[in-house]
C-alpha cells in the first residue's frame, strides 16, 4: 500500500508579521515546524506502515527551508520525501497549491491513500485537502479522528457539529485528520542524524512537474490580498473590583444586576 502525506511547514506560533510597506507576509528567517495536524497525518501514515507495511511518501510545497520539515518526516520514518520548490510557486493560494500538489502526486504514481492535516495553523483555511481530492478525482473524508484501512476501502470516524459520523469510502481516497487521531512520535536523536546526513530529499521544480511556466494559467492565484491591518479591540473603561473575594464578588453582582445582564 502506498500512502502519501502532505505536510506544510508553518512558522512557530506568534512569529509571523506583515511587512507594513508591501502588505506581504514576512516568512523569511522565521523558525518553522511541521503543521501540528500534518504531523498527526504523518503519524497515522507511519502507523499504517507498521500495520500493513505501507510505503510512506512525505510531500511538501514550500521555500528551500521546508526541506527541514521533510528531514523531520524522514527521521520519524517516512520512506521518501519530496519538496516542491520553485520561485514560481511563491504566494500561491490554496487553488494553486492543490494544483502543484496534484501534479506531483500524478508524477509519483500509484497510491492508495492521501493523508493531510485538516488545516494549517497559519492559514486555517482547511481548503487544500478537499481541493486536492477534487483535482485527483478522489473521495474525501474531512475532520477524521479515527481511521481503519482495509484492502480496498477505509472506515473513518469524523467529528462534525451535529455529533459523530462513521463513514466508509473506497480507496484510493483522501483523508484530512484532526489532532484527536493520535499523538505523533518523537524521532530518536540517532534517527534525526541519519535523516539529516544520509537521506535524500528529492526536489522538484516546475519543469519536473510538467508545468509550462510560459503560460501562467495554472500558477496564477485567483485570490489576492487587498488589505491587511491590525484591529483595535474596543477600549473599555475597566473597573477593578478590589477587596476581599466575598466583597469583590458582591460588588460585581451588584454592577451586573444594575446593568440588567443577570
Amino acid at each position: 500500500m502506498n500512502v502519501i502525506v502532505c505536510i506544510k511547514q508553518v512558522p512557530v506560533s506568534g512569529t509571523v508579521s506583515i511587512d507594513p510597506r508591501t502588505g506581504a507576509l514576512k516568512r523569511e528567517n522565521v523558525p518553522g515546524v511541521i503543521n501540528p495536524e500534518d504531523l498527526c497525518a504523518l503519524e497515522e501514515a507511519l502507523l499504517l506502515k507498521q500495520k500493513h507495511g505501507s510505503r510512506v511518501t512525505a510531500l511538501s510545497m514550500g521555500p528551500p527551508q521546508a526541506e527541514g520539515a521533510l528531514r523531520e518526516a524522514l527521521a520519524m520514518g517516512a520512506d521518501r520525501a519530496v519538496l516542491l520548490c520553485d520561485r514560481a510557486f511563491a504566494g500561491s493560494d490554496t487553488l494553486v497549491t492543490s494544483y502543484v500538489l496534484a501534479q506531483a502526486i500524478r508524477k509519483l504514481g500509484g497510491f492508495d491513500l492521501i493523508l493531510c492535516g485538516k488545516q494549517s495553523a497559519d492559514g486555517n483555511t482547511a481548503q487544500v485537502g478537499p481541493e486536492l481530492a477534487e483535482r485527483l478525482g478522489l473521495p474525501q473524508v474531512t475532520s477524521v479522528q479515527r481511521l481503519e484501512v482495509y484492502q480496498e476501502r477505509l472506515e473513518a470516524e469524523r467529528a462534525v457539529e451535529s455529533g459523530l459520523q462513521w463513514v466508509e469510502a473506497r480507496l484510493p481516497a483522501l483523508i484530512t485528520v484532526t489532532r484527536r487521531i493520535n499523538t505523533p512520535r518523537q524521532p530518536s536523536v540517532e534517527a534525526i542524524l541519519v535523516a539529516c546526513r544520509e537521506k535524500e530529499v528529492i526536489t522538484w521544480k516546475t519543469d519536473d512537474l510538467g508545468i509550462d511556466t510560459s503560460s501562467m494559467r495554472f500558477l496564477e492565484s485567483p485570490t489576492r490580498m487587498a488589505a491587511a491591518w491590525v484591529p483595535e479591540p474596543r477600549k473599555r473603561e475597566g473597573e477593578m473590583l478590589a477587596g476581599p473575594t466575598k466583597e469583590a464578588v458582591r460588588t460585581l453582582l451588584e454592577r451586573l444586576r444594575q446593568r440588567q445582564v443577570i
Binding site: V16, N124, L164, W166, G238, K246, V249, L256, I262
Partner: protein, 348 residues
Amino acid sequence: MTSSSDMKGNWEGRGMVWVFAEQSDGELARVSLEILGRGQELAKALNGQVWAILLGSGVTGLSEELIYRGADKVLLGDGPTLGDYDTSIYCRAVTDAALEHKPDILLMGATDIGRDLAPRVAARLGTGLTADCVALDIEQETGLLLQTKRGYSGNMILTFVCPDHRPQMATVRQGVLQPCPRDASRRGDIVSLSICPGQENLRLRILKKAKRAGQDSSPQEARVVVACGRGIGKLENFRKLEELAQSLGAAVVATKEITDLGWLPEGHMVGQTGITVKPELYIACGISGAIQHTSGMWGSGIIVAINKDPKAEIFKIADYGIVGDVNEVIGALIEELDGLKTGWGGCT
C-alpha cells in the same frame, strides 16, 4: 489570451449572489440565514438578486422560509439521495447549477459541511475561495466582493478579492452577520433542480451516526457565557465552573488548551480557530487574554475577567476585573448567586 479572460469569460454582469442554504434534519443552519441577510445587501449594491440553493430530502417546506428571510429565488433540490450530506452529490448539484446560472458570488457557512463542500466546488469551478470570513462588502469602484477574515493567530484583519475568476466564493463564520427579520409577506420563485446521482466511486457510505450528547445549546446563541481558561487548574474546578454557569443560565465555552484536554467539545472553543461569541455578558475565568482567544469574544456586551495575574491582558478589554484565585472567586459567586435565589424565592 490570459487566464483571467479564460476564467471569467461571459460569467458576469447580473449581480447575482448565491447562498448555500445548509440544513440538517429539516432545520436551516442559523449561519445560512445570517449570510442571506447580508447577501440581500450585497445584491442591492450590485443591482442584482440573492438566490438560495437548498438541498435535502423532504425540505421543500423550507423554501418559503428562505424567501421570508430574504431570498429572491430558491433553487431547490429535494430527493432521497440528498438526505444525508454527501460531498460528491452536493458538489455536483451546486456546480451544475452554478455553471448554468453563473452567479457572481457564491457564499456558504464556515460550518463542517460548508468547509467540506466549498473547496470542492471552488476547485471544480476553478475559482478562488476565502475561508471563514467575518465581513463581506462590495467595493464601490470595481463591484468586487471584499472578503474579510482574521489571519495569522487572529491579530490581523485581512481582506481578499478574487478579481478575475467567477464565482467569487467565501465561507462565512457564524455569529458575525445579522439575519434579516422574517417577513412572511415576501414572495419569490422556487425552481426545482434536477439532481445527478454523482460518480459512484466518490460516494461515501454512512455506517453510523451519533448525535452529540446532552442539551448542548449553541454557545453562540447564549445571552450569558462563562469561559474557562488554563488558570482553572484541574477538572474538578472545571466542574465547579459548570455549576456557576448553571446558576447563571449560561453556556460554557473555553480556550483551546481546555478543549484540547477534552473537557469540552471543540465546538465550544472560542477564538481564532474556534467560534465567535457576542453574548450580553462574558465571564472569563482563568483566561490570560491571548489574542487567539480574545479575537473570538471581544464583541461581547459586558466582559468580566477573573485572573490571579493583575497584569493579564484580559483585564485590558474587561469592563470589570477581579484579581484573585479564580476558583475561590467562582466558589464565592456560586454561594452569592444561590443566596440571591433563595432570597428572591418568594418574589418570582
